[in-house]
Symmetry: C2
């Protein structure tokens, strides 16, 4: 049977997994709002980021409590320190989804994404969702092998990110500077979202193995 | 007289202040390399980011050691938790300076900054340096009043950031999409640098008062 203290640590894990669900949903809706120029959906992402922030504050508070009252050592200490870092990364991922939704809102009723880049953005959105889903599984199961898959997905995201720039800089680009700015920023947000997902997975590896990964 | 444990915490503070010096120097050189299209300077920023990363790793390791061996409580616990967050923010600020230097390197021997935006970038660079200098003082002196000044500087950075977009989107813009992309990204890096500086100052406030600020 688990004691109250270890139940508290389990609850911490559950909350982190819940954060991955929220920021996955946020990113999924943000991508759709961007592609379909859906103002209602964009607004929902923007207003619901508050929920991610609230959960983050809860996680932080409970970590401080555990640290102050239980003075964890060894693997338990790694668990709470990792949780602190993971929660910060997940909170940031919520912000990035919100930033993408704000681009959709800014351009509504027009679309920020020209037809020639729709497929790339669709793919970036899919990879983002795949990444955060695996991040959630990684936190829940502590399966360190998954972190390698996340790195491969992150590489795929980087390739798509570079493809965006190739299209923007090609002589055929005819959508002007405003669209180029929107896409530059959106691309950056997807790429950062992927980076943070990988960082969370690396924190799981640290938690399990006690050794730090790069990035 | 301070005991060995509290000397260790003082050393932690010194190292964070040293990190602010490194990332201030990095940002100062990155801005100059961008404005003067100085490849040598840009390379120096890029190669020396390693130093920031090494210091970050050292700070992290010593925090884990303090936590595991001393099991700090109350204000000491807040000190180490804050230090962990501050070090992560400072490390990121080093990355952002490096990103700016990479834009300079990418466009060398051309300049990424058209004449009409030089003044704005000069100002953004100055505010970035002012922010990180105050952040260093804030960490060293624990002067929470400084954090308000940082917020004002951050607002000034946001205004300059918006000015960049106004120039990019004006009908007079004649430097094309590539320059617009460079400036969009550089602007984002300066703005994020400022955000991280404010976060560090907020961590000092948390350390001193025990209550969390937004952002």
């Amino acid at each position: 049977m688990r004691d109250a203290y270890h139940e508290e640590l389990d609850t911490l894990t559950d909350r982190l997994v819940e954060m991955t669900r929220l920021v996955r949903s946020a990113m999924s809706r943000a991508t759709t709002s961007l592609l379909d120029s859906d103002l209602h959906l964009a607004e929902s992402v923007i207003s619901q980021d508050e929920e991610v922030n609230r959960l983050y504050a809860e996680v932080e508070t409970s970590i401080y409590e555990v640290m102050a009252t239980q003075q964890p050592v060894a693997v338990d200490l790694r668990t709470v320190i990792s949780a602190l870092r993971m929660a910060a990364d997940l909170e940031r991922m919520g912000d990035l989804a919100e930033h993408i939704a704000k681009i959709a809102r800014l351009r509504h009723p027009d679309s920020a994404i020209p037809p020639s880049l729709r497929d790339t953005i669709v793919e970036m959105g899919q990879i983002a969702e795949r990444l955060i889903t695996k991040t959630g599984t990684c936190i829940a199961t502590r399966d360190v092998e998954l972190s390698k898959e996340l790195e491969a997905d992150d590489d795929a995201m980087d390739r798509l990110h570079r493809r965006l720039f190739r299209v923007l800089l090609s002589p055929d680009w005819k959508y002007g500077v405003e669209a180029a700015i929107d896409i530059t920023l959106a691309g950056r947000y997807y790429e950062r979202y992927a980076d943070h997902a990988v960082r969370v997975a690396h924190d799981v590896v640290y938690l399990v193995t006690g050794s730090r990964q790069e990035g």
